[in-house]
Symmetry: C2
Subunit: 244 residues, 2 copies
């Protein structure tokens, strides 16, 4: 537990959770009102994803990692995490089937390649993933996801659901309703969720149940915390993630 005894200055019950609408609005505020660049925040978000993954599934025991990246910012966070994970000692592969035609994303992918990340174009069948990887990172869909899943991304989601490997989801477990969580028994069951900036409603303990849960993206200005009336767990020292 990240929070126990005198270390604990918040109650897990008091953490509040963003609606999809507020998650979108908060993100817009960071770029428009606070003038952050996507490069800046994606770097910090991806670093915190890599950090949380490494805390729970260290490279010493889970060296071979596959990161499944979607076309939006969630996928970009995954590309950044891939690079930091190589620095943390992982052997990393990335599957990135729908690429965003955008300089930042192209450069992030380029950086991955130059850091030795293996960019794979063919995804093995879900049951074969265990032969090659020890842990999966789900950077497929983020907080702006609305169903249905498009056909071209279904194999990627199936890999996450049916591999039997531990899945670390970035911000939202892919395919989940951002507010209500999984919509069927066949929905993704992540082992770890890394909420970014602030948890969304689907990350409530009664929905997550046995999922390990970290908060990352330590970059919220006080004005945002106030505007969205956020009560968040306190980060310790200079740490970029905190376990809820």
């Amino acid at each position: 537990m990240a929070c126990s005894g005198s270390q604990c200055s918040y109650s897990a019950d008091k953490v509040n959770y963003l609606t999809q609408e507020n998650a979108v609005a908060l993100d817009q505020d960071l770029f428009n009102e606070y003038k952050f660049s996507v490069d800046q925040l994606m770097e910090l978000a991806g670093l915190s994803v890599a950090t949380a993954v490494a805390r729970v599934y260290p490279a010493t025991t889970h060296k071979s990692a596959l990161i499944i990246c979607g076309p939006g910012n969630n996928g970009g966070d995954g590309l950044v995490a891939a690079r930091h994970m190589t620095l943390f000692g992982y052997s990393v592969a990335v599957y990135y089937p729908k690429r965003t035609a955008n300089t930042l994303y192209e450069n992030l992918l380029w950086q991955c390649e130059k850091f030795g990340v293996n960019i794979i174009n063919d995804l093995p069948q879900p049951e074969e993933l265990k032969n090659e990887y020890k842990v999966l990172v789900d950077a497929l869909f983020g907080f702006s996801f609305k169903p249905p899943v498009r056909e071209a991304l279904k194999p990627a989601l199936d890999a996450l659901i049916y591999s039997g490997l531990p899945v670390c989801s970035v911000d939202i477990p892919s395919g989940w309703h951002v507010e209500k969580g999984p919509d069927s028994e066949n929905s993704l069951k992540p082992a770890l969720l890394i909420s970014l900036s602030a948890p969304k409603l689907c990350a409530k303990p009664e929905i997550l149940k046995n999922v390990k849960h970290f908060l990352g993206g330590r970059f919220l200005p006080p004005g945002i915390v106030q505007k969205y009336n956020l009560t968040l767990p306190p980060y310790q020292a200079q740490d970029q993630v905190v376990e809820l």
Copy 2:
């Protein structure tokens, strides 16, 4: 010590140090060959500066910090560090006398203001700084510095030299020759140096002597390590700084 016993897989004697020419070339490689944006690397550099400062001079004992920023990338690292230091619990002021007309720098300054950093336009006399601050961060000149110091920045350098406060220098102690170190007895005597990406020649132990020394900027691709034949201390776990 960051490195002792079985934790220690390098010898301090083997760490190698960049010439000014190679420091400039390595930096260019990161942007040109590896296609990093300044936003990305400055965010990681500034975070590691803030982290090292907080390890040595924690906010609990050194709450009030003044960051002195120069016009170049070193100053930009300082602006990023200022923001992260507010998140680490510091009360931060920034003195930034020569501002760079560039969107990134303007936005970094804007973010500082929105995070509650106090941007001061008048620098107190060196001997008065102790009344207001507990620690100074020197983000004045970086690895491209060549003497002489221009007139408009002399008061900033004097503040760093004569305040009597502990000074944490970003990458290069300001005013030092990048390869030879201090050129007179009146040169800056930092208490802490945070080398970024790789230490420069002026950071050799026989020059630094009693200065605490950290390495930050954990973003070097393996191709750069190879090209410049770098032997660097290994970062521990997910840490963004390592003490030499």
